[in-house]
Symmetry: C2
Subunit: 378 residues, 2 copies
Amino acid sequence: MCESIPKTMKAIVFHGPHDVSTEIRETPKIEKADDVILKVKYSGLCGTDLHSYRGHIKGPVDQIIGHEFLGEIVAKGSDISDSEFKIGDDVLSTFTIQCGICWYCKHGYSGQCDKTNTFGKVGLPGGQAEYVRIPYAKSTLIKKPASQDHADDSVYVLMADIFITGYYGVKKIVDFLGQKPAVGVQQLEIKDATILQYMVLAPLGVGPVGLCALRVLNHLGFKKVVCVDNVPSRLEEAKRLGAYKTINFETEPTLLKEVIEKDTGNVGFDAVLEVVGASAALKTAYDSVRRNGFISSLGMGHEPLPFNGLDCYLKNINISFGRCHVWSLFPEALEIFETLKGDFASFIDHKVSLDESKEAFELFDQHKVSKVVFDLTL
Amino acid sequence: MCESIPKTMKAIVFHGPHDVSTEIRETPKIEKADDVILKVKYSGLCGTDLHSYRGHIKGPVDQIIGHEFLGEIVAKGSDISDSEFKIGDDVLSTFTIQCGICWYCKHGYSGQCDKTNTFGKVGLPGGQAEYVRIPYAKSTLIKKPASQDHADDSVYVLMADIFITGYYGVKKIVDFLGQKPAVGVQQLEIKDATILQYMVLAPLGVGPVGLCALRVLNHLGFKKVVCVDNVPSRLEEAKRLGAYKTINFETEPTLLKEVIEKDTGNVGFDAVLEVVGASAALKTAYDSVRRNGFISSLGMGHEPLPFNGLDCYLKNINISFGRCHVWSLFPEALEIFETLKGDFASFIDHKVSLDESKEAFELFDQHKVSKVVFDLTL
């Protein structure tokens, strides 16, 4: 254990809806041989933090919250060799922990790890704090790439969850569209099935995950990406990041239908990325996707599905649901992130100290800022 | 028009539930330039014919029924050149018609053709008759392969619908499992992800489509295929055709759970092929598939889906629904069928003349025969 770790630290604690505060808490200690203690440098405030803040879902009362963070290793358990991690290493953390050895971890589905948990939830104190304990550190931390530029490292908070979640949604679209179609008795050459010409409705909901997905789609060659939201500033950002068209579903309620008619010959989108999870969003996805198209659903729904078995049969619908496998996808997503991260620096428009938690949550809740990062290097 | 075509013919007509009869009808004529008149040689009775026979769905009253047939071209429209089809050609027909030129036909999704219809439904007299008119003949008929053996051609009735539908369900499984998984930070080598070791629950419901799917799975290298049904004779046939295990869900109600525990380490099946469409079958599929696994659903459901958005999210479920694109898939399915057709000859256990329609429907309805073919070569 490093001598310089103080016994207490500052941390942001959730007490209930609209009730968070910065408090003094005991600094976490190594509990298991594969733990690491991280000194946090940057810690993001994620849109999902608002679910409990707004009281939409039950939050972890009296828990330190936050699941988007990076920092420096200041202590490690006996099972972690120096070839794995050294004291002083700059590391990124995934928003979940995962054991690394169960069937799901071994097969590329770390988001379904038998022992997974999310930082800031019950049983796992989060990273909006000066220090955070990382269980299963070998399969939760990744060394931060050595900076080849002088960009602010705070942008890496996006790699904990948001960017990789967007990447996951896109990867499934690429996998689906990459499947060799049947070409029929005429052995028709499918001349227009190039990636550039696929029409993709992505995302439904242009929050940070959606914007990352949009940028990845563009990067991979999808040039006809249509974005839908009802927040003008988000739609402007989507334009800046390369959206082919943007649609404000509140002020332009017929535009999506017009785009489908005009841009797809009324066939519909080849794929739709749904990041909201609400039944209404899935209904829009169903209505907008072409027959035999693909819906990549990242949103965590709680409602009945807005289509029945016959609807699905008649449209030959293909759907993929579920949480991102952040750890499994980290290497391939990081490679793309390194080339795109400059585009995302502007996402983070509000950097403050841990002391300013109340105000930061309020501003974020009221959509007055896009992305809050608690900067512990200040 | 060939001189020898009589003005009237025998045909099986649907009048209502449990009411079919063989009648004299006017022989169809060329109506459009891309029509063909087929002299039927073999015409199958399909399980879906029972839906209307039993009154489960509204049948086409006073219509000639039947959508599984093959025969010889005896007349053709002026748009069909001799390089396409000649009088006298032996041809197979798909169970649907398709225009061949719409977006869906051009892109490998002929089952979604803008102008599709099914033989034996309203507006399109079927093939349980001596003659049948084939609209869009260029994209509905396929030349029968020259026989390299002396097998009975009646087995080709399976190529109108059943075999290719089973193949379609399997193809989607192969496409899904063939996607490159994320391998994680450890860059783990996935040693057991060979096709031989995938556990596939296929089909749920071992009717003719399911048996064809099973045989295709085996042919493609899937050796661990588990079949579920409640009809002992079907499960015996599944064993004969290479099922790894068979489960009678009525007499062995806990066996599926035991197989999942023992054979998959309680992970679940990599993929499930569902051929029934009922909510209960989809629920079994959902419960049996592993997280991040794949459900290939061929059944035409009419009920609400037995899972909501959260169920799908939590299990990272992937599902594909819909009707087979028989014409689009014909060439690749035929290639496999030619090597496997010998296995299917025994499917057809009741060959009769068109005159015996009443008795044939009754026997088929009562599960006393597996597959009826009306043999017009007799």
